[in-house]
């Protein structure tokens, strides 16, 4: 009896109104959760859509490069090609002489990538660890260089080049990359992060500057070197202005400049499928690197420049 009474008392207290309110509240929470869930999914879908806005054109380009010319000229936004025309690539490779320009591009990139460190690393080391007269002056030219874009100094530099016989030579083409301030800042920042104790102890052992640089500093900044290699490879592979301006003959021109030649036809429209095939060939190495190492590439491009350009 007593138990029953107690029970009824207990249920009384929470019955009817309370329970209803509780149910209502729970229902509201449930709905809120569901709405949030749906919103989350919508957000994700939107994110993907925005991402596609930046990727779709490249995929479309790949599909264009596989179409026959008539289909290509219709500018159909679809991506699926029924009969892929692989001979477009063969045509571009052979007839449009892309092979020659690919060779030049590779040569240019390899030359710059290997030779730049002989000049950049000593300069960065000097800036980071040494004191000398004129350091501030040399540093100030950085700002002058920022105000003076390559577009402005084009004519004077071209004049110097033509007097020194550097126009249309590999030496002239790679020369500015060897003194790129970007690389010097990057390595300088890395060298400055190395604890001073290391250098001091090396100096106590009477190590010379070059020993410190070659045997202590460079192994310590190996990750920066990889980052720098990645960034310079991408920028050199894509270089357009400098190569266009400082060459007169086709013998040294690289792939990006060659694509410009494909665009400029005498009459009518360019053969878009061939142009697209050429562009795909130009994009391929970088995109392959990006697909397999997207995180590293992003870190390299953003982190590298961020650190060095911000530091005043």
């Amino acid at each position: 009896m007593l138990d029953e009474k107690k029970l009824s008392f207990a249920t009384d207290a929470y019955s009817a109104k309370h329970l209803e309110e509780k149910n209502k509240y729970l229902f509201l929470v449930k709905i809120k959760k569901r709405v949030k869930y749906v919103l989350k999914i919508l957000n994700y879908l939107l994110l993907i859509a925005v991402g596609l806005f930046f990727v779709y054109p490249f995929v479309w380009m790949a599909s264009m490069s596989l179409r026959p010319l008539i289909d290509a000229l219709s500018f159909d936004p679809g991506l699926i090609v029924k009969h892929p025309q692989w001979q477009n690539y063969v045509y571009a490779w052979r007839q449009a002489q892309i092979v020659h320009y690919v060779g030049n591009s590779i040569k240019y990139s390899v030359l710059v990538l290997t030779l730049q460190y002989f000049t950049i690393i000593p300069a960065a080391y000097g800036f980071a660890t040494m004191e000398f007269k004129g350091k501030k002056f040399l540093w100030a030219t950085k700002y002058l260089g920022m105000m003076l874009p390559a577009e402005a100094t084009l004519i004077p530099v071209y004049f110097f080049y033509s007097k020194m016989g550097l126009v249309d030579t590999w030496g002239g083409l790679i020369l500015p990359s060897l003194f790129s301030m970007f690389g010097i800042y990057m390595f300088m920042g890395a060298f400055k992060q190395i604890p001073k104790e290391v250098i001091e102890s090396a100096k106590m052992d009477k190590a010379k500057n070059r020993t410190i640089m070659l045997k202590i500093m460079i192994p310590m900044v190996a990750p920066v070197m990889i980052t720098h290699l990645l960034v310079t490879f991408i920028s050199n592979w894509n270089e357009y202005y400098w190569v266009l301006v400082m060459t007169n003959s086709e013998s040294l021109r690289t792939l990006p400049v060659a694509l410009r030649g494909l665009l400029q036809v005498e009459d009518g429209v360019p053969e878009w499928n061939i142009v697209m095939a050429g562009t795909m060939i130009q994009l391929a190495p970088i995109m392959l690197v990006y697909i397999f190492a997207s995180k590293q590439v992003k870190m390299a491009m953003v982190g590298g420049s961020n650190k060095n350009k911000i530091s005043k």
């Binding site: 054109p57 402005a152 110097f160």
Partner: protein, 377 residues
């Protein structure tokens, strides 16, 4: 054991003799004597070889060791000499200068000399083939480009419009997108990666791509026609060509700046946001009162960089419009190239370059001043 020591003794004797003879050769005056000494040396060498051949295997090992030791000693002597020489040089000259040669050469050859040459050259009617034939004209070049050249003034106006348009558009889009994308889920990362793609593609490929997309029959106009809008010929229309190119450059660089701003956002300490949450601030207030002010340093850097870079957009203009139609998309960078490398009007080009440099310096200076003041407050 004594045998082996003997080998070393003999070897060293031979080598000493040869070295001595070599020294004598250097001092010898007549040709005959030199010849004589040389034959003597070769004789000694053959003798040494013969002696080497007569040794047994154990002795040969010892012989090689002695050879190594001797070479080592020689190397050390050479190094000592070099060190002394080095010390002598570096007593007078700071070693830093040797390390700085490349940087100094780059600065002089690609910045200082061109700047001087440019300023002086802009006052001459320049003949690059025989430079001494150029004649001094005072400010004639400037007068001509400002009054006679129809495209130059247009180019200045276009350059400034282009810069402001790209920077403002980019600022609005990237800040909003960065706050939206700045989360560490897989989907957000994927989206970031996709948005970043155009930045690593070359400007050439992006330009070619957008020439097609902006074609009168291209994808953009196809989409517009769904909504019943007749899109213009974007790149060949005087009123849209500049903005189309600006849009493409913005499209290409969004990903880069978004990632930079996200890096800045992630540097903001999370407790700031937690405090705002406790005060029940809504998300817009948080964005306006916390995110933007704390981000201002990154933003200043980003947009000064972008502003300067937008003066340099050459590839996009060159490929997409070539300054046309009727100079409507002509910017200064392209004008200089056109005047100098296409029309061979070097004096004009250099005068234009001076004007471009002045514009960039003024804008950069103002931007630094303006933003530094703001961030101090």
């Amino acid at each position: 054991m004594t045998d082996l020591k003997l080998v070393g003794k003999k070897y060293n004797e031979f080598c000493d003799a040869i070295d001595e003879l070599k020294l004598v050769i250097k001092k010898a005056k007549s040709q005959d004597e030199k010849e004589r000494l040389k034959t003597r040396i070769s004789e000694l060498k053959t003798e040494l070889n013969d002696y080497k051949k007569s040794l047994n295997s154990e002795e040969i090992e010892a012989y090689r060791d002695y050879q190594k030791i001797r070479l080592d000693i020689k190397r050390c002597e050479r190094l000592k000499k070099m060190d002394k020489l080095e010390a002598k040089i570096f007593k007078k000259l700071n070693p830093a200068y040797i390390y700085m040669i490349p940087a100094a050469f780059g600065a002089i050859f690609f910045t200082i000399l061109p700047a001087i040459f440019m300023i002086i050259g802009s006052l001459f009617k320049v003949d690059l083939v025989s430079i001494w034939d150029s004649s001094f004209k005072g400010f004639w070049n400037y007068e001509m480009i400002f009054t006679r050249d129809t495209e130059f003034v247009k180019a200045i106006v276009n350059t400034i419009i282009f810069a402001f348009f790209t920077v403002i558009l980019l600022m609005v889009i990237t800040v909003l997108m960065a706050t939206w994308l700045s989360k560490n889920t897989k989907i957000h990362n994927l989206s970031q990666t996709m948005v970043f793609t155009p930045h690593i593609a070359s400007m050439v490929s992006v330009s070619i791509l957008w020439i097609l997309m902006l074609d009168p029959k291209g994808i953009i106009n196809q989409i517009l026609s769904i909504f019943g809008i007749q899109g213009p010929n974007w790149l060949m229309n005087t009123s849209t060509s500049l903005f189309s190119v600006a849009f493409v450059t913005v499209w290409k660089s969004i990903g880069y700046y978004v990632l930079i701003i996200i890096a800045g956002l992630q540097a903001i300490p999370p407790y700031v946001y937690e405090a705002a949450k406790l005060d029940k601030a809504n998300s817009f207030t948080v964005f306006r009162k916390i995110t933007v002010p704390l981000l201002s340093e990154t933003l200043v850097f980003v947009f000064i960089m972008k502003f300067i870079n937008s003066f340099k957009s050459f590839a996009a203009i060159d490929l997409m419009t070539q300054g046309g139609p009727r100079g409507s998309s002509m910017v200064l960078g392209y004008w200089i190239y056109n005047a100098g490398r296409v029309k061979f009007n070097y004096g004009f080009a250099m005068a234009g370059a001076v004007v471009l440099t002045i514009i960039i310096s003024v804008f950069t200076f103002v931007a630094y001043r303006f933003f530094n003041k703001k961030s101090e407050n």
